[in-house]
Structure formats: structure tokens, C-alpha cells
Symmetry: C2
Subunit: 275 residues, 2 copies
């Protein structure tokens, strides 16, 4: 839990960046006990948010995602009870994330490192795109990644922007924030705009108060990230949004990933870039 | 039913192309009895496929769409019983398409011009992206549109490519075909690749037999389109795919649009282009 983010060091494995082998190696380290955030891990491999709900809530969750595609771009939905996904057929969804959150009636009940004993035959699992996926594209375009430089989890905030509700599911949008040098904002918008499956272009740039964020130093999830002189805060829709909806909507049971501790898939980042 | 496609003539209304007013004018003509195909109608306005199913089939349909995003890109899903959509709030989904198909246990039961008396409180309606939407981008890039030149509905074919099933929903992919001059294929791929919400890049170019199409002169839906010398057939995933799934999967009841006779929304085409 207290190991530092692994940063660029992980790029130095023998496996090519973005290959299924390098993704599998990262998951193996997680399964062996590494609970650190996954920002900077397995460069080139798509990362995903996870939410599992009972089958009788699955339609509302899927419709909520369809109606809120910026925060909730669906990469895969499993059949009820399944423990694997087409995004990484050899992975086990119950053990291969660094940390999970267990929710009962919208309350956080536990934050375990695996959920095998809690799995149910009626659980439908949603894998949702994660902005960690586009960080390599940002870095490649010369946009600095301050949270990686500072060895921190990305900062995430609950906004006052409501999502479009769907049946029993409703709640506010959650965003991740990255400080971007003012002269690089246009590049950051352009690069991430090409990747709608992993949140796409930012939803807001500049004054945090405009989207209901009072204090950048106190993120709701993850770690605060320091802005350097000339940086402006840039906000992307975040796959933690379904967790905020769980808090608001109080389904009887749900399992999610712990914010910033993602599922690493076998899919290469570029698969989700629109040419 | 036998009026010819309206072609470019419709561009000559007083309302700006792609404006909600020009979309509303096109829908008003439909409501007044025009049952012609909508290829070439209301340039700049996004067109949509429609499928309405009882609520207890809605999850399988939505999941089928999520798992088959090229043929089934979802633009909106209504609440059960609703007769309007956020895509065109003033339109009535029961009357504003040129023709509907009514399905009972996978059999075509009727093809009426409106479905008000058949509407049910448990019907959930899916609006799915349509390739007519990107035709203006193709024309703007200099790619000729043979079916419009020939005043015909686009040609559509059932392929032997299976969709990924979802619960009770399964079936083959349906494609639309446009003849494209060989030197323009690259442009057609690039232009439509930017519009994943309306089927995106082609799924196949060239030999129809490779995707199970025996005879281009005998489309399963729409009209045959003549290739000119130097043209190659280019195939895009098609929003008629859910209708093929209805035939294969036999839900007790469904309403769809009639192929090529689409719902014209208030949304501008460019809204669905990735920058």
C-alpha cells in the first residue's frame, strides 16, 4: 500500500512496451502483492476502471455509461459471474487489481487486495476507459506529467456537474486533474481528443471553482499534484464517476477498483486512438 | 412509398444545412406522408436507425450494441415508454420516420407509416448511428456518392460475419455498400474513420465473397447501386444489423425503422466527428 508509484522504471522490462507480455508482467506483480497506484505502469497498455454490480442493476449501470460517455466509456462488459474479460483473457478480475473497494448500500465497507471470496454468480463487471491510457500520448507530444514527476497518484475530484441519470443510477461527474503548461494546453486537448474511449478531450480548463472544486490541494481521491509556475489545471472526465454514482444511488452491493489502482489490459493504447 | 429519393434538392431550403430547423422541416414532410428513403435528405443533420424492444429485452440489446460498436453505435436510449429523444426533443418517434417495421417473434408482421397504436409503455427505443451521416463528409472530400447520383436507396447486405452475442441477442453483421473510385478509397477510409459514432471506417473493401455476399446486384435491403469503371465496392457496418439480430433472436416484439428510411435528428453531423 505504501510502495511508491513505479514510474518510468517499469518501462525497462525485457518485454516490448504495450505488449500482452508486459501487461501480464505488471499484473503478476500486482497479484504478488504490489498495491501501488498504476499511473506510469506498463506503458503502452490500456488501463481500465472496474465496477461489478448484481445483474438486476446492470442495465441501469450500462445505460448510465451510455448516457455519460465522457466519464464512463465502456471497454467491455462481462457476462454475469464471469471472472475474465476479452481485454485480457488470462487475467482474473478478482485478484489482478492492486486494490478493490467493496460497497454495501452506497457505503464503503472494505478495501481489500482481492475479492475472490466476495464474488457472486450474478455479478456483471464493467471495464471503463482510464485516462492513464493517454498519458503516454501526452508524454510523446511533449506534455509533462506532473504527478508522475512527483511520484504521486493522479488527483481526482468530485465536481458539481451532474451526470445524466439512468434508472436508479445518478450522481456527479468525477474528474482527474493534470497541471499543464499554458503553452501545451492546445496540444493536450488535441492529443486526448483523439482518444474518446479513454475519456477524450478535457471537460474543463482553468478555474476549479467553475466545476465545483473548492481546493485543488484536497482531492477527493488520489494525491494532490503541485502546479509549477505557468501551469494551468486541466480536468478530464474520470472513470471513478461510477463510484460517485454508487454513493449517490446506493445499490445493495458493488465492487469497484480503488481509485488510481487500475486493471491493466492486454490492449495497446493505440487501439483506442481514432486515426 | 414510390416517390424518388429527394437527393440534393433538399439542400435548397431556406434553413441552414444541419440546423434543427432544416431537420424539423424534413421530419414534417415525413409526417405529412413522404415515405421515400432518407439518403440525401437534410444534409448536415445526423440520421439514426431505430429499434424499440420491450424493457425485458433492453439490456440484451444495449449490451449487443456495446459489444458490436461498429454496426451498432448507440446515439441515445430512451426511458421505457418515451416517445421522444434528446437527439430531437420535438420529434415523435412513433410518427416521424418514413416507414417502420413491426416484428413478432422474429417475423416481419407489418410495415406501417406510423406506429402510434402499437406503442407500449414498456418499449425502450435505441437510436443508432447511420452512415448517411458521413456521406456529406465524403462528398466534401470529393468522394462521389453513386447511390445518390443514381437516385437510389443505399444497397445493404447481410454478411456471414457473426456479431459478438449478448444474452438472447445474436446475428450476422449487415453492411452498406458504396462504390468508390479506387484512387479515392484511402480518402473514404480516412474521412469516415473520424466518425466512429456513425459506423466509422469501412469493415471491408473489395471482393464481396470474402464477407459472404454472393451477388452485389441482389442486396438484402435497399436498391442495387451500379459500379462505374474503376470503382471498387466498399462496405461499412450498418445499423440494420439489429434487425438481422431480431430475425435470428426472435424477441416476442420489436419495432424498427424500414432500412434506408431513417430518423432525422437535430444534431449536426460534425458533432460526431472526432477532431
Amino acid at each position: 500500500m505504501n510502495s511508491p508509484p513505479r514510474g518510468a522504471g517499469w518501462a525497462g522490462t525485457a518485454d516490448p512496451a504495450g505488449s500482452p507480455a508486459s501487461a501480464a508482467a505488471a499484473r503478476a506483480a500486482v497479484r504478488a502483492g504490489d498495491r501501488a497506484p498504476t499511473a506510469g505502469v506498463a506503458p503502452g497498455s490500456t488501463q481500465a476502471n472496474l465496477i461489478s454490480v448484481p445483474r438486476d442493476w446492470a442495465y441501469d449501470v450500462l445505460l448510465f455509461c451510455q448516457r455519460n460517455p465522457k466519464p464512463c466509456p465502456v471497454l467491455d462488459v462481462t457476462d454475469a459471474g464471469a471472472v475474465s474479460t476479452v481485454l485480457a483473457p488470462d487475467a482474473d478480475l478478482r485478484t489482478d487489481l492492486p486494490a478493490y473497494r467493496v460497497w454495501e448500500h452506497g457505503e464503503l465497507a472494505d478495501e481489500p487486495s482481492e475479492v475472490t471470496s466476495l464474488w457472486r454468480k450474478d455479478l456483471v463487471t464493467f471495464l471503463i476507459g482510464c485516462s492513464f491510457t493517454f498519458e503516454w500520448a501526452l508524454a510523446g507530444a511533449g506534455v509533462p506529467l506532473r504527478h508522475i514527476e512527483q511520484s504521486r497518484n493522479v488527483a481526482m475530484y468530485v465536481t458539481d456537474v451532474p451526470c445524466r441519470p439512468a434508472g436508479g443510477m445518478h450522481g456527479p461527474m468525477v474528474v482527474s486533474m493534470r497541471p499543464v503548461p499554458e503553452e501545451s494546453v492546445e496540444t493536450a486537448v488535441r492529443v486526448t481528443g483523439r482518444m474518446p474511449a479513454v475519456h477524450g478531450a478535457p471537460v474543463h480548463t482553468g478555474d476549479p471553482a467553475r466545476i465545483g472544486i473548492r481546493n485543488l490541494d484536497e482531492p477527493d481521491f488520489g494525491d494532490p499534484t503541485e502546479l509549477r509556475p505557468g501551469d494551468v489545471p486541466v480536468f478530464w472526465a474520470c472513470g471513478v464517476t461510477p463510484q460517485a454514482a454508487v454513493v449517490s444511488s446506493r445499490p445493495p452491493f458493488a465492487i469497484t477498483h480503488s481509485p488510481g489502482r487500475m486493471f491493466i489490459t492486454d490492449v495497446r493504447d493505440e487501439e483506442y486512438a481514432v486515426p
